[in-house]
Subunit: 200 residues, 2 copies
């Protein structure tokens, strides 16, 4: 069996992702792990520390693809590969998008964490890296943040909105078949953006 | 001053949108309106009835543009105008996207309402209407629901994720200048989808 601290992190991640930070309690986390609430304090000093540990673990995973992208020449193929990897990562780890969305909706205390540690590197590195080949909106650079924001939102809202579409489409949207379709769709959209810029 | 029932609806809409159905209480609604909690029951029999009344009022507003689109020839210009109207409607009434997102994240009891009353008409009418001119993914029709879902998510997640980007971009994302940019961006993306289909 996994060490207790890891099981606590797993349970807390699921709970925060389902209900958001404010509506979650340490008592519920302890229940899910099957330990007594005071035992939690052997591992995490309070709810805030537990949330931050959950976030640290997820950010380690989610910042990796961008680091890899930045280590190589920023070509169209590499950008597409990065977006595909990120799309799959969100589908395979849906709690990241859920935590982010809860923070944006009702947990303003944590929005700064996400901005500093996830979004800033994204906007800074992607904007700075813009080699001629991959750059979009060459003629109207003020639209570039809109493009980054929109693709980021598109990938995450697929995960957070999935329960609303699953009954309608009769599919498990986080399953393998749907994940492949979503990866294809994101690629098509990115290539469409490149092609419209060429025509302009 | 507005009639009490309307002030109750306004306050309830804001509260449900901020905290979600489960974390909201009738006592808080009464507090915000400045009436005693028992007075609420003169207008709505319980929390569920109040939530449904909030939803009814929003759906009336949000289903209108699709009805208008269906009354005219479905041309590219009309589809673009419809998407622009819908994008603005979401920005001007941000509570709709917030309610939907809360339902998808943690309030499974209400997902059916949104699916039946908002999403089904969207997928049914848009798919059926597909005149040759506006149709995308002519050669791979199984991608069409993905396109509808993605554009729908894109428009709504702009609203629900706004608090996370506002500090980063230093802009009020629900203000007029940003709204215009978002409308432009959605138009560019839709036109990009049309142009890639023509090349295929």
């Amino acid at each position: 069996m996994k060490p207790t601290a890891e099981r606590v992190l797993d349970a807390a991640e699921d709970l925060f992702a389902a209900k958001g930070y404010n509506a979650s309690s340490l008592g519920e986390v302890a229940d899910r792990v099957g330990i007594r609430p005071p035992s939690l304090y052997n591992h995490f000093k309070n709810k805030e520390a537990l949330y931050m540990a959950v976030l640290d673990r997820l950010l380690l995973k989610f910042n990796q693809p961008l680091r890899e992208l930045m280590e190589r020449p920023v070509t169209r193929d590499n950008v597409l590969a990065w977006q595909k990897k990120l799309t799959r990562l969100h589908i395979e780890n849906p709690n990241m998008a859920r935590l982010l969305q809860h923070a944006a909706l009702s947990d303003s205390a944590h929005t700064k964490e996400f901005v500093e540690r996830l979004f800033k590197p994204l906007f800074k590195d992607v904007t700075a890296s813009g080699s001629e080949e991959v750059m979009i909106f060459k003629e109207s650079r003020e639209m570039l943040p809109w493009a980054i924001m929109s693709f980021n939102n598109l990938v995450m809202s697929y995960v957070t909105m999935a329960p609303l579409y699953e009954s309608l489409l009769g599919k498990d949207l986080l399953g393998e078949e749907s994940a492949n379709k979503q990866v294809d769709f994101i690629s098509i959209l990115i290539q469409a953006m490149w092609s419209i810029d060429e025509e302009a």
